[in-house]
């Protein structure tokens, strides 16, 4: 028991580190842990190491939105979309509320995931085989809707396709960590450069309670529950694609969208624990490592993972809001122009460290592509073509 509690605490510390550091994904730490497992396993059991990974992964999904909103530096496809409405709220002095909305989404996702577990265990195999043939067409429809609801249809189509070809080419390159320069350039550096160009000033941040109608929360969570469950089962799909589909199904405000984005990444993680136990499919890096550590994953193990998820979720609410308060206080004290430049330099250094000169080249090109939507006056969500087009082609070809 003490071993499990210690694993939870160490996992939370790992999740704080990976969540708050742009470019450090929980998959990286889980893989590191896997490589250390030969030295650790004589002293701790595989289930303890797995609990550590569960705690780390769940904490990460709560905290990683903080650098995405305050610094405009996403570290995964899941929170890349949170940058957009989150940054808008930051510019209105509501950065803390933006974080609180994603935290609300994340915690509700844990509750939904736990409630759905008995149903999913029973119906997941049938559900999985019946939807996997249609997911490609669903993504085409969602992308077409995304493009053609925009007034400037030519530019939205052009930027979606350009980002798509860019994403496909980058993912096809033989390099380490292609997602970091890809997403950091399109959604991070580009936004920071536009902020520098427009001489953006960050206003005083207000620490306020979440102000949102219950109906909007229900809409966001309903959309997350349905789409998140389906998408979490599919290979190659992640929270970003789920957010695009989910927001097309039900019209949401910026606040509702932040709840949706917050919930999808956490829900994806919870569903992945159920999926490995029920349909034996590993849907993210953390679960891949768990499946390597454990010979079998029984329902008893799954229940332990879900209990740990719930407890860590409660702790992560407190941690996220605490760190959001600290970031809200600091962000106005620091010269924002200098901060933007420092973050851009940090992203370039990380890209070079992770992916060498190729990563830096991708960052430069991606940053120019990422600025195009702002320059032509359309939504930046068309840049999601970078992940949608490769996945559509994977399913349809």
């Amino acid at each position: 028991m003490i071993e499990i509690i210690l694993a939870v605490l160490v996992g939370i510390l790992g999740g704080i580190f990976s969540g708050l550091t742009p470019g450090i994904h929980t998959n990286l730490l889980a893989t590191l842990l896997l490589s250390l497992s030969p030295f650790l396993l004589p002293y701790v059991s595989p289930i303890t190491l797995s609990v550590l990974i569960v705690s780390m992964a769940i904490t990460h999904t709560f905290l990683n939105v903080i650098p995405a909103i305050y610094l405009g530096a996403p570290d995964s496809e899941g929170n890349s979309l949170a940058v957009l409405p989150g940054h808008r709220m930051l510019l209105q002095g509501k950065g803390y509320e933006a974080v609180a909305l994603t935290v609300l989404g994340s915690f509700l996702a844990i509750i939904i995931g736990i409630i759905l577990t008995p149903l999913l265990l029973k119906f997941l195999p049938a559900l999985y085989s019946s939807i996997k043939d249609f997911i490609g067409y669903l993504l085409v429809l969602a992308s077409l809707y995304l493009i053609f609801r925009e007034k400037k249809k030519f530019w939205s189509f052009f930027i979606f396709m350009l980002a798509g070809i860019f994403g496909m080419s980058v993912l096809n390159l033989n390099m380490r960590e292609p997602l970091f320069p890809l997403l950091s350039s399109l959604f991070g550096v580009a936004g920071l450069l536009i902020s520098l160009k427009d001489n953006v000033k960050i206003p005083e941040q207000v620490i306020s309670k979440v102000d949102i109608e219950k109906k909007e929360v229900m809409k966001a969570m309903g959309s997350a529950g349905i789409v998140g469950t389906f998408v979490s089962l599919m290979p190659g799909l992640g929270p970003a694609q789920a957010a695009i589909i989910g927001s097309q199904l039900i019209k949401l405000t910026d606040k509702g969208f932040l709840i949706l984005v917050g919930s999808l990444e956490t829900l994806g993680m919870v569903i992945s624990f159920i999926a490995i136990s029920s349909i034996q499919k590993a849907r993210n890096g953390a679960v891949v490592v768990i499946s390597r550590l454990m010979e079998t994953i029984t329902q008893k193990d799954l229940i332990l993972f879900l209990i740990v998820t719930f407890i860590v979720g409660l702790i992560a609410i407190f941690l996220s809001l605490k760190f959001a308060k600290i970031f809200s206080r600091l962000i106005t004290k620091i010269n924002y122009r200098k901060l933007c430049i420092s973050i851009i330099i940090l992203i370039f250094v990380m890209a070079f460290w992770l992916s060498s000169f190729t990563g830096v080249y991708i960052l430069i090109i991606g940053s120019f592509i990422g600025m195009l939507p702002s320059l032509v006056g359309i939504g930046k969500n068309h840049l999601m073509g970078c992940l949608l087009l490769p996945v559509i082609l994977f399913f349809l070809l």
Binding site: T31, L34, S35, S37, P38, L162, I165, F166, M168, S169, V170, N172, L173, N174, M175, R176, E177, K197, P235, I276, S277, Q280, K281, A282, V287, V288, S291, R292, M294, E295, T296, I297, Y361, I362, I364, I365, F368, I369, M371, L372, L375, V376
Partner: protein, 116 residues
């Protein structure tokens, strides 16, 4: 005027840059190599090996294959999607990412093709 020039420069760099990366990705084919010659400095990059399937085992979520050529053997990790129907002792080409587990090299398969 300045805004229009900045837009044009961004557009040109975006288009040329994207196609340069597309070209690089098309040209950088992964050449086949002997299993013995796989090195740790290739970790996390894509490699291509060809060999005979010796054994298959399962964990939750994964198949672990053992492939051999005349120089060495290596574990191949395959994520469970559909049923894996690979016959033992047949020759296969495996393209995937080189990783390390318990101080041993292994390949996370992206494509497995039967080699006639």
């Amino acid at each position: 005027m300045l805004k229009l020039t900045f837009f044009r420069i961004s557009l040109i760099i975006s288009i040329l840059g994207t196609f340069s990366i597309l070209l690089i990705s098309e040209l950088s084919k992964v050449e086949p190599q002997n299993i013995k010659d796989l090195k740790k400095d290739q970790l996390e990059t894509r490699v291509n090996v060809q060999g005979r399937l010796l054994a298959t085992r399962e964990t939750p979520g994964l198949y672990i294959l053992t492939i051999t050529d005349n120089t060495a053997t290596i574990p191949i990790i395959v994520f469970k999607e559909d049923e894996l129907e690979l016959e033992k002792n047949k020759q296969f080409v495996v393209i995937g990412k080189l990783t390390e587990y318990k101080n041993e090299l292994e390949i996370i398969a992206e494509r497995i093709i039967e080699n006639d």
